[in-house]
Symmetry: C2
Subunit: 263 residues, 2 copies
DNA sequence: ATATCTTAATGAACGCCGTTCTCCAGGTGA
DNA sequence: TCACCTGGAGAACGGCGTTCATTAAGATAT
């Protein structure tokens, strides 16, 4: 991970009498050209280790074995860095040629892969939620998604909203996933435990809590608690996605598409 | 002592996964100028004036003419304060008795009033997005929404997702609204100008930008740019909402409900 | 009336944060 | 050789959330 001073144990602090000789000469050989890419990369490392709230310019600099001011030569601000990270999300993201016959599958694939990308880095949904994909680099992706909707035959005012709708759904779903995960993580362990927090125990506790609610006041919550807890996130994601897809399909001339399971 | 806002139904005991709020914050008996309520109120004042990024404990204290540390007698942390503000969103929020015949109108009304509440304070959607309504005080509201879906006849696994889906939609839509508003505000004025930023000019500029895109690369974006910009936010909100409602309706036994306009 | 207890509020402090500024070592080209 | 450039260091500024010892002021008990 920390490949800057590879393997070398932490050097002792320089004694005051040798302050004439700055330790910098030893530490900084010409072998480390800093770059925007390296900064972004280090930012992802810090993000995954400490979460968005622990992602500071100082931590990124430390990850690179560099002072914080050095970062500002390659990144104009922290917001700029976050935007670079957001843009990085879409790298290699390609949409197939729009096929009116398979638009549902195409949108499903887009949404699922979008969710996977958000899940690939901690707190990534929070970063994504704070940005709008209408930058120059990201417009082609928006275009590709709109192409699928319009080619499928959706009316323009529906297609215009559909992109926002499913993007919001993806971000919002993963955001919520992350909040539950964090809560479960804080709940049982000291944080330094194994990667997977006691998710199972958490689910059980939720089940118990819902079951403990007064039956006359919360009949529906009690009835659905099992589904909300026990279903896998992937299942729940697909269900919500399917609701949206059916809603979109209802605007197509072909009425049969409306309620076909199609999954 | 715990003078919860009157009228709300008795909240269930606190769930195990919500952050424990140490009861350290006690209500002063008689002659206390400062109170939890006043702190939250001042926080809203600061929020509306300076936005979420400018909402600091120090600013809230200054608003009250008090030192920062005084706040911590009534609020256990900034997160606690934000959660109180989030909960405040739902004050007086009531759902009518579920009517299977009118479930669409009921959900529409819920969503629209939810959006209005989010719009009533600057950056409120950002706060809402960061919270889950599964605290003791808020569970009744979740129950009421689920009741509408279940009473309407939706299958359980659909109803269980539907609540999350429309809540996420509301939050996400208003969040995006706010981001555009902020962008427009930063764009034209020095910030000290009139309340309404040059929204019109911004829309025009976006129109021009989209129109300037190469036609062969962005045909769909160019075709839909007018709709995305010129339509009022209220219209766009209703369109997305309708997509979701239709998707939900497709799971009802009655197939006629699927594509009925119903608006 | 005096001493004690309680409690709201203070003010200083700690350790972070993003950002900016000055300065210097080392390499480059003339 | 010397001036120039550049990438990074280091210190500093103001602001942040939070904690803690202390004070002032009322209430209570003696």
């Amino acid at each position: 991970m920390t490949d800057a001073p590879a393997g070398t144990p932490a050097p002792p602090p320089p004694s005051p009498w040798e302050r004439e000789r700055p330790a910098r000469a030893r530490v900084a050989p010409a072998r480390a050209p800093l770059s925007r890419e390296r900064v972004v990369e280090a930012a992802f490392t810090v993000l995954d280790r400490q979460g968005l709230d622990g992602l500071s310019m100082r931590q990124v600099a430390a990850e690179l074995g560099v002072t914080v001011s050095a970062l500002y030569a390659h990144v104009s601000s922290k917001d700029d860095l976050l935007e670079l990270m957001y843009t990085r999300l879409f790298d290699g993201f390609t949409m197939p040629e729009p096929d009116p016959e398979r638009w549902r599958e195409q949108v499903r694939a887009y949404a699922r892969s979008g969710r996977q990308r958000l899940l690939s880095h901690r707190d990534m949904a929070r970063i994504s939620m704070a940005h709008v994909p209408f930058t120059a680099e990201l417009l082609p992706h928006v275009e590709a998604l709109l192409a699928v909707f319009r080619t499928a035959g959706l009316p323009d005012h529906i297609a215009a909203e559909a992109g926002d709708l499913i993007s919001t759904y993806i971000d919002g779903f993963v955001l919520e996933e992350g909040m539950w995960r964090d809560r479960a993580g804080r709940h049982g362990g000291d944080g330094s435990s194994l990667a997977r927090p006691d998710w199972r125990e958490m689910a059980e506790e939720m089940q118990n809590y819902f079951a403990s609610l007064p039956a006359e006041d919360f009949p529906h919550l009690r009835a659905l608690a099992g589904l909300m807890v026990s279903d896998s996130s992937d299942q729940r994601f697909d269900i919500g996605l399917e609701i949206i897809l059916r809603g979109l399909a209802s605007y197509l001339p072909d009425p049969a598409a409306c309620s076909s399971p199609d999954a």
